[in-house]
């Protein structure tokens, strides 16, 4: 089964992760059957937006299936708008992301975030938004309502709450069911059995896309979750490949 990975990263991490170079990404794509990957810069997310976006732009290559997201940091709205103008018209950049409220410290429905997103929204490319708790999901839903003509993807599908109740991913699933412009992306560290089945059952397989969080995580982890899930092969194909192909026009 072919795979398009809509949630991946290029760059270093502040953990003992050493397979993060372009050649490592290509090797992992080959190993796991990933045809195309959409990357955001870890440097842009965790440190320097401008330098990170530039690093990323240098490795993108459609012949190798390497596409990118422009990262924006709402703490720097004007600079973010410059980054959008610089990259978002480039066909190798397929969207905006992974907008990360935890690293920037700014909620995605804040005034600063909305002004940046409004600028990017004109390009009609999808937004990948990090969601790992109930507050993240709530703020994303506000954006989804504010920009009904744009596609938003809940990165990590709402995430995992420490209590083990699954409340945040359940909330994300409900929101994806309610709003036609909200999709779910499924990677995370802890995979509670039943979550993908519930997402397919409630939001529908058409609203779910495969992401790996490569190189923070190995694609093997999330591929394993999909293959362990009690869902149909048709639904797996939509999740692994077909939905992303359509949404990102790949």
């Amino acid at each position: 089964m072919l795979i398009i990975d809509v949630h991946a990263h290029y760059g270093e991490w502040f953990f003992p992760i050493y397979r993060s170079a372009k050649k490592d990404i290509e090797e992992m794509m080959n190993l796991h059957g990933i045809e195309k990957v959409i990357l955001s810069s870890s440097k842009a997310i965790t440190y320097d937006m401008v330098e990170g976006n530039m690093d990323l732009s240098r490795i993108l290559d459609s012949n190798k299936g390497l596409y990118g997201y422009v990262y924006v940091n709402p703490n720097y709205p004007e600079l973010s708008k410059t980054e959008i103008e610089k990259y978002l018209g480039n066909p190798l950049f397929k969207g905006v992301g992974e907008i990360h409220p935890d690293y920037s410290g700014v909620s995605v429905d804040s005034e600063e975030s909305v002004s940046v997103i409004r600028e990017a929204a004109e390009y009609r490319k999808p937004f990948l938004i990090h969601t790992y708790n109930l507050e993240n999901v709530r703020a994303l839903v506000e954006l989804v309502k504010k920009f009904p003509g744009n596609i938003f993807i809940a990165g990590h599908m709402g995430g995992t709450v420490a209590s083990g109740t699954g409340l945040s991913w359940k909330k994300a699933i409900e929101a994806a069911k309610e709003y036609s412009n909200l999709y779910l992306e499924i990677c995370m560290t802890l995979f509670e059995k039943g979550k993908l089945e519930e997402a397919v059952d409630k939001a529908g397989a058409d609203k779910i896309m495969f992401g790996s969080d490569l190189t923070l995580l190995t694609p093997a982890h999330t591929i394993g979750m999909v293959l362990s899930a009690e869902i149909s092969r048709n639904d797996m194909e939509k999740i692994f490949y077909l939905n992303a192909k359509k949404v990102f026009r790949l």
């Binding site: 953990f15 699954g166 509670e192 093997a220 979750m225």
Partner: protein, 247 residues
């Protein structure tokens, strides 16, 4: 596709019972079905009754279940919020056939620096069975390593992620008792880094099934760029040795 049934797999992290926090099937029947589906030969298991309700009743249930299916290896648990100490209780658990002690710190919410835990760690000296402890926050492995450095039994860290990897490696170099479960070591090269830095003999495969998706943890190890003999140690060789030594 990667097929688990080509390997001899012993899963060091399984549970059964009921799960009160959301609707999901963690029944014994589903555990057995998931083992069969994925070609798992043996599983260390423990009743969730001991984690959520009564560890005494949970332990009885675990023993009973493992008596009826020899692929299941019983782990005992105690709830430190109820446990008021005593070497005798620990000796009795081992005498009755439990092959290790698993704590549910993640569910029960106590800190590691907690008198009943220190008592448990002291009480296990000389019994020869492993202690399995979830550690998912910074400093937990460091403290556990310090508390068990002079002990004579293996300590298996459950739920270690890439963010705790350096803490584990540095601790494990100093404390030969420390092992780590592979389940959440999901970064692009966690398994390779661990094998290179401390050796495959310190990694133990666990899946968390049926509460978690088996293939997610299986494929982390199966796809790692390590020697096949190291992979086999992780998938079962190491935990079998530990259990065998436990008697």
């Amino acid at each position: 596709m990667m097929h688990a049934d080509k390997r001899f797999i012993v899963d060091a992290n399984t549970v059964f019972g009921t799960y009160p926090k959301r609707k999901t099937d963690v029944s014994l029947k589903n555990l057995i079905r998931t083992m069969d589906l994925n070609g798992v030969e043996k599983a260390l298991t423990v009743s969730l009754k001991g984690a959520f309700y009564s560890y005494e009743e949970g332990n009885e249930e675990t023993l009973k279940v493992c008596d009826t299916d020899k692929r299941l290896i019983p782990l005992a648990t105690v709830d430190p919020r109820r446990f008021i100490g005593g070497r005798e209780e620990m000796e009795n658990l081992v005498r009755r056939g439990f092959k290790g002690l698993r704590l549910f710190k993640d569910i029960q919410g106590y800190p590691l620096d907690y008198s009943p835990i220190i008592e448990i760690i002291e009480s296990m000296e000389g019994l020869g069975v492993p202690l399995l402890v979830p550690c998912n926050e910074y400093g937990c492995i460091t403290l556990l390593s310090r508390l068990t450095a002079d002990k004579d039994y293996p300590v298996i860290i459950l739920g270690c992620t890439y963010s705790l990897l350096s803490e584990f490696i540095v601790s494990a170099r100093k404390n030969r008792n420390l092992y780590v479960e592979s389940r959440l070591l999901a970064s692009s090269d966690s398994i390779e880094v661990l094998v290179e830095k401390i050796g495959a003999s310190r990694l133990i495969f666990g899946s968390g099934m049926p509460l978690e998706y088996f293939q997610a943890s299986y494929r982390i190890v199966e796809s790692a760029r390590i020697r096949d003999e190291d992979r086999n140690l992780i998938f079962g060789g190491n935990i079998l040795r530990i259990i065998k030594e436990a008697g």
